[in-house]
């Protein structure tokens, strides 16, 4: 019946169009974070970049793993690993909603032919100590995007805040292609032969095998051990960093950020300190927790406790990042821009 489906985008065209749209808008086109994460929010490009005062615009695809959501590839609407397209706009432009709607036009959705609603949906992640205010965007009754104004991250109040747009790519592709099963989505179409590769061709095996692993075979004891090892490593790094910052205070330069009298050796130690790897360690813990949860291995007493432990890591990483940035100062290009601006003034 509907006519607007003549040449719907393939899954990969959808990724390309949205990426191009936001790249054209001035976003950095990043690659997915190369670790298991439950959502694009957890990748450093969001979790860390929304902290502190530096403006930033970025777009990236983030495969997101949720072990408990796996369905052995049997359910046409559920996936262990789904694909998010994540956009961070810091600070959000005044026309951010209009920008978002234009991105829908860019993927071939003629809004005048559809029913679009912004319905209240606030987002919160107890594990990350993060929350925001926003909507789920409903297109003809389908939730296609989570639109969030981040307010807090790693328990740190944000200023400026960021707008986060999270597109559910499988849902959008299924909508565009008008298919009832995710596995029937056309992922790629060979322009020469017209031969199609479906989502099922590409991903069905993962869904099945990871479901088996996550629900049946992951060794509970070893997974617990992994979690504890990563946690210890992360905690140790954070403690060491806190030690450095303590020395910095000792050096008498209390809360001043970058100071010329600041001992150079300390500043250098802080600059090169591996805060980014400590986030990775924290993310590992988060994923292993989800795995244990899917495995049914987390008891009542443990559950709340483990979430709190991971949050403590996330909060620690966020604080360390903010402190490090304050000492290191703006990024090289931002420094360049400032110099340029100063020179032009003269």
């Amino acid at each position: 019946m509907p006519q607007a489906k003549q040449n719907p985008l393939t899954f990969q065209e959808l990724v390309l169009r949205l990426s191009n749209f936001f790249a054209d808008y001035g976003c950095v086109l990043q690659q997915p974070h190369d670790l298991e994460v439950g959502a694009g929010t957890m990748a450093p490009e969001t979790f860390l970049r929304v902290l502190g005062p530096q403006p930033y615009k970025v777009v990236y695809v983030q495969p997101s793993r949720r072990p408990a959501d796996g369905r052995y590839g049997e359910n046409p609407n559920r996936l262990y690993k789904h694909t998010q397209l994540q956009v961070i706009l810091k600070p959000p432009p005044e026309d951010v909603q209009e920008l978002y709607l234009r991105s829908l036009e860019a993927i071939g959705i003629d809004l005048r032919q559809h029913d679009i609603k912004f319905e209240e949906d606030n987002w919160e992640s107890p594990t990350l100590g993060a929350w925001g205010i926003g909507w789920q965007v409903m297109l003809d009754g389908l939730e296609i995007t989570q639109f969030t104004y981040f307010q807090q991250c790693g328990q740190i109040d944000l200023d400026p805040i960021s707008a986060e747009l999270t597109y559910g790519l499988e849902r959008i592709a299924a909508f565009l292609q008008d298919v009832d099963s995710i596995y029937d989505i056309v992922w790629a179409r060979d322009p020469q032969t017209g031969k199609q590769v479906t989502y099922g061709d590409v991903r069905l095996a993962d869904e099945l095998q990871y479901s088996v692993y996550n629900f049946e075979l992951a060794d509970v004891d070893r997974t617990w051990k992994h979690l504890e090892l990563y946690e210890d490593e992360c905690k140790e790094l954070l403690a060491e960093f806190a030690g450095l910052m303590g020395e910095r205070k000792e050096a008498g330069k209390k809360e001043r950020a970058v100071d010329e009298e600041f001992p150079a050796h300390l500043r250098e130690q802080i600059r090169r300190f591996p805060v980014l790897p400590s986030l990775d360690l924290c993310l590992k813990c988060s994923h292993l927790f989800n795995l244990l949860d899917a495995r049914g291995a987390i008891s009542v007493t443990e559950r709340v406790g483990v979430i709190a432990r991971i949050r403590q890591l996330a909060v620690g990483v966020a604080k360390a990042w903010v402190a490090q940035q304050a000492v290191v100062g703006p990024s090289p290009s931002a420094v360049g821009e400032q110099r340029l601006a100063a020179a032009q003034k003269v």
Partner: protein, 712 residues
């Protein structure tokens, strides 16, 4: 005179908050106009709202405040003149009010004589006042949840403000909020409309309509009309009335229309509860039923656009619903692989409350408590099938481990009940599980069966007792675990099902259920014995007294009747309600009014006696009474008291009260003729003993001194 318009343009406001904010903004603007003397007395202040705007139109306000003359007080005459000459204080005052010293007046105030001057105060313009004051009013609007969006976080609001229109007559009022300067430019419907310049406040509504946006009332009317129209395409169909859903969709649209969509008939084999939850709660669709009220394979979606000429939108909505229903069916099928009885053990991994342990622990406690309640009720002659209660309690929470409940959490209990039946268990078990969370509000029905009632009461009493023992007692507006609602549920269930259940005993048993558990280590007091336990029980009983009070007040009893009745005992809800009915019936009678007044007097006399250390006889010595009036009162009491006791035992409270009323003449004569507080200590103590006995005998139904009597 002019019209004033303010429109605040926002990104989509949450539907649930719009009505409240629209009303509040209207009240704030109206009050500002009155306070600032800009309302000539008959200004009308209609309001508007859509998801993207709040607006107030004030018709016929003054352009300018009236000029007023004010008397300004200066220094006292004593300070103002020295030796007949004006002092610097007087001169300074004269300069301030711009009047020559010689022309200053003298006025007499309670503090003495003061210099004074009459000053003409120029009225300010409405432009100035509105520009200055409205931003504060906007900023003060209440939001259940708000956010920052600008750098430096200067203000919080529900969502970012993106434009503002403020017009007084044809002029823009130069007000600014959240970095947005008010102008003429407004925005229309996102898809149907366009930006436009508001010409004048009076044409705002019409221009808005032109731009594809309807006011709330119009949208409501249009949606109703559209629902009817869409339904007519299916013979005999009608949409299921749903006020809450209507309010929601009205507040999700700027220009609504309705489409009728279809789903595969085979989905109708899923329980109606599941289908309706998916349609209503998840998709905000109206269900369509046939003439017998049975679901038909159709739904109605309210769109935020003018229609769906190509059918694309309807196709999309159908696709989404089909996926949702498929999920539900998938979950239903998967869930049957493990029947409820196999799921009890899995509850060990589901947290009830972090300090109170798992749902497995709760199940064990509730099962025991439910058995105790069953026994109590059976002893009192209520028919309860203890075996059914026992099994239902064991399986009650197992649906929390099912895929269907994980997906549709609002169906907990309902799913368990449906599964129990589908798995061939006694239908009574299914019904009890199904109803275990009922009643969820004062409007909701109580469980249909006595087994369901027992389970519901045990479940809630266990939660309340545990939370109280942790010290998580509701106070003021803080009640994060909705314990008040749960307690209201217990009271309502007991009252409506007429269960004779002593609340104090219920809570003692509920607390005892935690004895020896892990949870007990986290309790603030021991639940097994001692002062701590007594204190805890007392706070539980007090909490319940409030809930019974709430219930009786909701049932329409006057507050003094409720107080009087509960002062005479609040452990048994059914009994308290019966007493309240009896008291409410007689309270208007003349005799009863007089008795209430007399009891107040008796209470006062006894209180004063105690306060002044006067002895009250331990027991009434009838032989020591010598005045006729006191003898008559004692005799009357001794005649009536046994009858009152007997009638009360049979719950015939109205007759009992009628008996009490018969001693009114004796009471009246007593107070006319007899002096209680006489010098003779023995006589006085005996008379006080008589009053005390009277009070004790006749205060078991209600404490009559709590009844408010007219003119006394």
């Amino acid at each position: 005179m002019a019209d004033f318009l303010i429109e605040i343009g926002l990104e989509e406001i949450p539907a649930r908050m719009i009505d409240g904010a629209e009303a509040e903004l209207g009240v704030r603007v109206a009050k500002l106009l009155v306070d600032e003397r800009l309302d000539p007395g008959d200004a009308q202040v209609p309001t508007f709202s859509t998801p993207r705007r709040l607006a107030v139109l004030a018709r016929g306000i003054l352009d300018k405040q009236a000029d007023v003359e004010e008397q300004v007080l200066g220094p006292s005459v004593k300070v103002a003149y020295k030796d007949g000459q004006p002092t610097p204080a007087a001169q300074a005052f004269a300069r301030k009010v711009k009047v020559e010293v010689a022309h200053l007046k003298t006025v007499t105030t309670p503090k003495g004589e003061y210099l004074a001057a009459t000053v003409a105060r120029k009225g300010r313009t409405a432009q100035e006042i509105l520009a200055e004051s409205l931003p504060q009013e906007i900023n003060a609007l209440y939001w259940a949840k708000n956010m920052y969006w600008r750098e430096g976080k200067p203000e919080r609001f529900v969502r970012p403000v993106r434009w503002m229109v403020a017009l007084l007559g044809n002029e823009v009022v130069p007000l600014e909020y959240a970095g947005i300067k008010a102008a003429r430019r407004s925005r229309g419907h996102r898809l149907l409309g366009h930006d436009f310049e508001v010409k004048a406040p009076s044409s705002y509504a019409a221009e808005l309509k032109e731009a594809g946006v309807l006011g709330r009332r119009e949208r409501l009317a249009l949606i109703r009309k559209e629902l009817d129209r869409a339904c007519r395409t299916v013979a005999g169909a009608r949409w299921r009335e749903d006020k809450e859903l209507l309010d929601t969709v009205v507040n999700l649209t700027e220009y609504p229309s309705v489409i009728l969509g279809n789903f595969e008939r085979e989905f109708l084999s899923l329980p109606e509860e599941v289908l309706v939850t998916v349609m209503r709660d998840h998709q905000k669709y109206f269900a369509v039923e046939d003439g017998d009220g049975k679901l038909t394979p159709h739904f109605l979606a309210v769109l935020n656009t003018s229609g769906d000429p190509t059918g694309i939108v309807g196709h999309g909505h159908e696709r989404v619903l089909r996926a949702r229903f498929n999920d539900a069916r998938f979950f239903w099928t998967v869930d049957q692989k493990h029947p409820l009885r196999e799921r009890v053990d899995r509850l060990r991994n589901v947290t009830f409350q972090k300090d109170l342990g798992s749902y497995f622990d709760k199940t064990m406690r509730v099962q025991k408590l439910a058995s105790q309640i069953s026994q109590t009720l059976e002893d009192a002659g209520v028919k309860v099938r203890a075996g059914i209660v026992h099994k239902a309690a064991l399986l009650a929470k197992t649906d929390l481990t099912t895929e269907l409940v994980k997906e549709f959490t609002e169906l907990q209990g309902v799913v368990g009940g449906l599964y129990a039946k589908a798995q061939g268990l006694d239908p009574a078990i299914g019904d009890a599980i199904y109803d275990q969370y009922k009643p969820e509000s004062m409007e909701d029905a109580v469980p249909r069966t006595s087994e369901g009632a027992v389970l519901s009461i045990a479940d809630k009493a266990d939660s309340i007792a545990g939370m109280f023992a942790l010290g998580l007692i509701p106070s003021g507006s803080k009640d994060p675990f909705a314990l008040r609602r749960q307690a209201n549920g217990i009271v309502k269930t007991i009252a409506e099902r007429k269960l004779s259940l002593d609340l104090q005993m219920l809570f003692r048993d509920a607390l005892a259920g935690y004895a020896g558990s892990e949870a007990e280590k986290r309790f603030i007091v021991s639940v097994q014995s001692g002062e701590g336990r007594a204190h805890l029980l007392a706070s539980l009983v007090a909490f319940y007294r409030e809930r019974i009070e709430f219930y009786l007040r909701e049932a329409g009893f006057a507050y003094d009747v409720v107080n009087a009745v509960l002062a005479a005992g609040a452990h048994d809800v059914v009994d308290a309600e019966a007493r309240a009915q009896a008291v409410a019936k007689v309270r208007e009678s003349e005799d009863f009014g007089a008795i209430s007044a007399a009891f107040k007097r008796i209470k006062n006399i006894l209180r004063q006696a105690k306060e002044t250390g006067k002895k009250i006889g331990d027991a009434l010595d009838v032989s020591a009474l010598h005045e006729d009036a006191e003898k008559a009162l004692a005799a009357g009491m001794q005649r009536v008291a046994p009858r009152v006791r007997e009638l009360s035992l049979k719950w015939e409270y109205a007759s009992a009260l009628a008996q009490i009323a018969t001693i009114r003449p004796a009471v009246d004569t007593f107070f006319d003729k007899v002096m209680v507080m006489v010098e003779d200590e023995r006589v006085r103590a005996n008379r006080l003993a008589l009053l005390q006995a009277l009070l004790n005998e006749f205060s078991t139904i209600a404490d009559f001194s709590e009844i408010v009597t007219e003119g006394k």
